[in-house]
């Protein structure tokens, strides 16, 4: 259990770091040209991401991370 508590603490610290980073980074709205490109989106190819998620969920013990698993399956 201590392992889990320690991990939770690490993630809280990272989140705090992220929030602090928020204060000093960023762009103005007219500087969002690159970020608006389809290939710069967080999930640039949803079908590829969904296919990979399904494959790795079926073959490994881990899943998710970037999003939720969209649907369970009895994959074996």
């Amino acid at each position: 259990m201590t392992g889990i508590r320690r991990r939770l603490a690490v993630c809280a610290a990272l989140a705090a770091a992220g929030a602090a980073l928020g204060g000093c980074a960023g762009v103005e709205p007219w500087q969002r040209d690159v970020l608006a490109r389809p290939d710069m989106q967080l999930v640039a190819d949803p079908l590829e991401a969904a296919a990979d998620e399904h494959i790795y969920f079926s073959k490994e013990a881990s899943s998710g991370g970037q999003g939720f698993g969209g649907g369970g399956c009895g994959c074996n």
Partner: protein, 439 residues
């Protein structure tokens, strides 16, 4: 200006050519440029066909997928997805290979299958079709807050899933920072062929269903909290923490463990009259708590994009994993691109993972020989090529996935010492996609 006598004009004469010529004269341009203006279709479609093929006669999956997206009103979207899968081939059952021929009763209880000496034990009795669909609606609650609600269903021969999810995302900091929070609830019903086995009960002979019960179910609750941050004009990072709780029937109903002699490593006789060696159906805990931390960075190098992510996962079954995933999108001329992909994955074994169980020792409370709960590393190498067309984009990718695992060292006794207790998994993934519509 004097009038020429005009013939009565047709109301809708074609004035295009004389108008173009007159405009040329006015503007003094030799050759007018052409016009390239396309109206956006109301729907976005993304479709793909995927082939997943494992070597050595193992699983093959053919999959057809589609996503349709429509903007309902400004910034409000409807997303619909569907997936069709057809699975064939054979899957490792969890039984260990041996130096003798082994016979097993198939899940239905009506047939049996064998594994030759030395060969890995694969259960080829399943063929499955799966259909899945989901829908979600995303809309801005306030100018800075986006809400997303969705539902998903899937069905296959022995498994049904129903799920709902909701997510809220709020922008801060001139929209440079986004905080997200999401919840997903799922209720899945497992109705295995022949019934769900009693955990750690022995495999019985043909027609004997005493080790089997009826169907069962499980509930899954997922939480996700994440922050996305624009670092600069060309860089964005994301950090997510997820918590997932599963409760109910978490076993794989078709997986078994071999019980072998502690000295010789040979299989021991099964229940009297069954004609089988001794195999036990696996039994996992009826709850699982997973936590994961996921970080992603995307950076633009003048039209080329590097995406790298790291995920740490830990759960209360004793599995810890790390995933490193890197894509580099290399832009070619005219919107075409080449994207190499490398993924490295590593996991530790679950506390109750046992490659084999030993005769004479007490049967543990939980045990599974499912290779997916074992200790292994996996690597994926892939290449994707994309090409825009007038109305959309074609892309194709080819990936190779290899898992290399380590069996439980304690299992290497007697005849098992030189057998492949944890065969590598080698799979080829090929996917062809076509996107068309608005983007």
């Amino acid at each position: 200006m004097q009038l020429k006598k005009r013939k009565p004009m047709r109301k809708l004469r074609n004035v295009g050519t004389p108008l173009a010529a007159a405009t040329c004269a006015l503007l003094g341009q030799a050759a007018p440029r052409t016009v390239d203006a396309q109206e956006l279709a109301p729907w976005d479609f993304d479709t793909s066909f995927l082939i997943y093929s494992e070597a050595d006669g193992r699983v093959q999956d053919l999959s057809l997928n589609g996503i349709a997206r429509k903007e309902l009103r400004e910034d409000s979207f409807l997303n619909l997805t569907f997936a069709l899968d057809s699975l064939t081939g054979a899957s490792p059952s969890g039984a260990a290979p041996s130096n003798v021929v082994q016979t097993f009763t198939s899940p239905s209880g009506n047939a049996s299958y064998t594994a030759g000496a030395v060969n890995p034990v694969l259960d080829s009795t399943f063929h499955d079709q799966r259909i899945a669909a989901s829908g979600s609606w995303q809309w801005p609650v306030t100018r800075l807050t986006l809400m997303d609600v969705g539902a998903s269903i899937s069905n296959e021969y022995d498994y049904t899933h129903l799920g709902v999810d909701a997510k809220v995302a709020r922008d801060f900091n001139n929209r440079n920072t986004t905080l997200s929070f999401g919840v997903a609830l799922a209720s899945d019903t497992v109705d295995p062929v022949g019934g769900a086995p009693v955990p750690l009960a022995p495999m019985l002979g043909l027609g004997n269903m005493a080790s089997k019960r009826g169907d069962d179910s499980k509930d899954v609750t997922d939480f996700l909290i994440g922050v996305t941050q624009v670092v600069n004009r060309k860089t964005i990072v994301q950090l997510n923490y997820s918590l997932s709780n599963s409760d109910g029937y978490l076993n794989d109903p078709y997986k078994i463990l071999s019980v072998v002699d502690a000295v010789t490593g040979s299989p021991v006789p099964g229940p009297a009259g069954s004609g089988l060696y001794r195999y036990l159906y696996e039994g996992r805990p009826d709850s699982r708590e997973k936590q994961s931390l996921f970080g992603l960075v995307k950076h633009d190098f003048d039209g080329n994009v590097l995406e790298a992510s790291l995920r740490y996962m830990t759960d209360d079954w004793g599995v810890d994993s790390q995933t490193l995933d890197v894509h580099y999108r290399w832009g070619l001329k005219d919107g075409r691109y080449l994207q190499p992909h490398v993924r490295y994955y590593s996991q530790t074994a679950a506390d109750f993972y046992h490659t084999v169980l030993f005769d004479g020792r007490p049967v543990p409370q939980f045990a599974s020989a499912d290779y997916r709960l074992g200790e292994f590393d996996a690597i994926t190498l892939g290449l994707k090529y994309g090409m825009p067309t007038k109305k959309g984009e074609w892309s194709a990718r080819l990936e190779w996935y290899q898992q290399t695992g380590n069996a439980d060292p304690a299992a290497r006794v007697g005849v098992l010492t030189n057998l492949d207790l944890y065969p590598d998994l080698n799979a080829l993934i090929a996917q062809v996609s076509y996107k068309f519509g608005r983007r």
